[in-house]
Amino acid sequence: MKEESTRQITVIQTAAILVSTIIGVGVLPLPLFAVRAADSAAPLITLLGMVVAFIGLALVTILGKRFSDKTIILYSEDIIGKWPARLGSVAIIAFFAILTSLTAREFGEVVVTSVLKQTPVEVTVIVMLLLAAISTRNTITTFAYIHNFYFPLLIVPVILIVALSLKNAEVINLQPIWGSELQGILKGTLTIAALFQGSFILSMVIPSMRNPQKAMKASVWGIIIAGGQYVVIVAAAVSVFGAEEIKNLLWPTLELAKATSLPANILERLDAAFLAVWVTAVFTTLLSSYFLTIYAISHLFRLSDHKMFSFFLLPLVFVMAMLPTNIVQMYDIIENVGRIGLFITIGYPGLLLMISIIRKKRGNRNEGKSMDETG
């Protein structure tokens, strides 16, 4: 029974996990990050960030395929030995715990600033974290179902906003496409690549996939859809507001929603509705990083049940979320933590892959075809 219930995730579900994990609260300040780095070349730098992120994801995928029935926590021990691997795992756990808390805080700030102006930020943060904590108390199959279910809710509103904002768009704002100044491109690329870090969840999902050998297909599609959406949003924001204007906006995507309205005057302003729908996007991101954290902890301690950690971790994450004193400091931390995190989500898997190729280590590859051909 256990064997079958743990290998049920399909390729489509995996791609949905990746997309809905990547697309989250980071979309709101994304045009700002991109414009700060490269002015009107913002869409291009987003594309660049996407490519960098894909390298990291590809590393994780290749590793996952080599060790198709273990998570990164377990196979890293095979590759580089017990204690160095545990150190790496602790770093992963700590990083994603921090990422969880920062995501919750960031969205809490968004909500408090734009919708619930009288509510303390602590309340919105704890509500989001509680929601994620409750939802992590499910199996990884249900986790995949959850991502699959919310997938359309991430795609449709963004496309709607972008499509509706086209009537205010000016192509001139996007020129010159190559940008004018080059300093900060590297930093900006890394900042944007850091927004894709949630895709690291793939290293936990692959052992539960019905057919792990198809993981690469899922990651390519995941990156294309999520990255494509990033590029489209940045392009839309820049074309509507222009690079200089965006530098004065904290959450340009939200302003984009504010600037548009549905035809026929059904809803006068879209930002509150957009934010409401965007709760699901943030939730899925938060769920993924939270789930990754506790799933990694349970694998580190060789426990079969990860549910016990979900509430155990909650106070810790909450306190960490409350550490930044204001939005400015919070975004400094987010950018720095994100770039440092790239060492963990791209550097560490790269190292593992290199060593595993040198030492010719592989997981057992007798996993043949799919376990169960029906849906």
Partner: protein
Amino acid sequence: MPFSKGFKKSGSKKTIKAPSQKLAAHEDVKINGSLEQSINFVQDLLGTNVDMVIRRFQVFGKFPAAMLYFCNMVNQTSIHSDLLKPLMYTPPQIDRDSIELDQLKNIIINDALYYTGSMLESNLTALVESILRGCTVVVVEGIGDAFIIETRSIEKRSIDQPATEQVIRGPREGFIEPIGTNIALIRYRLQSADLHIESTEIGRRTKSKVAVCYVEGITNPKLVEEVNKRLSKIDIDGVTDSGYLEQFIEDNHLSPFPQVQYTERPDKIVANLLEGRVAILVDGSPLALVVPTVFSQFYQTVEDYTERFLLMSAIRLARLLALMFSLVFPAIYVSIISFNPELIPTEFAVAVAGGRAGVPFPAVVEVLIIETSMEVLREATIRLPQQVGGALSIVGVLVVGQAAVAAGFASPITVVAIALTTIGSFATPAYNAALALRLLRFPLIIMAGIFGLYGVMIGLILIANHLLSLKSFGVPYLSPLIPGDFQGYKDLIIRGPLSWMTQRPSFLRQIDRVKLGDAGTKDNKGHEEPAPRPATNNKMEES
């Protein structure tokens, strides 16, 4: 297989073996041939009952015997003519004087009795139990076995239209209480040797007959096994309706959502059996259970399939809309009014504000009050006798609603919103699913009152996550939506044409998934083709 998911119940449960304290004491007592002793035994146990009949007579005018039965559970006319008479008169082909005691048993069974349902039994407690079931027992002096004759005949109502699931187009028959009639209703719609009906008894005291029906060759055997396993674990004194069983075999007892579907339509049961589900019938209950159940079943009706697909797809969409409406509409109303009035067009916002000018409460309180009184009204209308019910609903809805607005107690738009919601919740065909959504509306309204649209989304995410984690007999509750099943999509939001549905939805993991033969998928124009191809089904089975 996910079907083998364990039944969550503590194993350390005290099992009470004896169904009846009186009978337990005499469990292995056999008939010793003495008529008086047997009669006394039964008389001791059942003699105090007014409907107990003990009729002494002589078999073939020679051998003393007695007949025991409950007079109201049998058809007495047939006992007189078909039972007592042939036992008293010697069959013409047999010479009365030559009958010996040791032949008597065979002569009675083979030559005298006109009943098909008769058997021999030597255990006294078994005799008592069969009398209780409505059988007639004949005990003869000197014979170690008693004759048990199936004479049960209990008054039953006639088969009429199902009260809760009426359709405009479709069969008009509904289940009634006796299980035998219900099985017959199923069997004549599904005349197949593959239809299996297994029967067990559940209930220590009521001994209710429970039948598990499935179609062999379609239904996954592991599902049948799981159903039987869960049923066998039930240890309760009485089962008076299938609803009792539902609460024991469902996966999640705390969920507001029903995980077992019930229906009183035999045609619906047959359709479900053919889809690969298992039906459970209980004697005495006009409602049969169907497992496994997925959420989409609750907004589908029989009519969806009997009427043409385009029309019913549109109606199904309306039903889905009503379903969503009944869950979220009041919550969205509250959050827009109290947090985000800028969302709605200015003219309308002004109108709403004007309507609310005299209302002393915040929107959330107002909506909660009206919602609660609506629930009270609805409950009262159900409980009242039919003649008064109509009057009450008019007084309640029209007069009280109008007066509440006039008194400045509620704004007219609130009343409109709540009325729409209430009507929406009636559009859901399944009463228990509508009830779940009705219940969940209240926490959503409160969330909306605290956090606005943000709160509504949080609430909806919680509900959706719960639905996603729910399973019914190992089948994910939101299948075929999640996990995706292309065949199932054709019958999810719209009802696709029957010719599209060539295969059964795969989430039930049937053995045989082919639903439509090759010929069925073709247009009617195909008639022009000469000579039909032989063995059209083979191709489908191979692929």
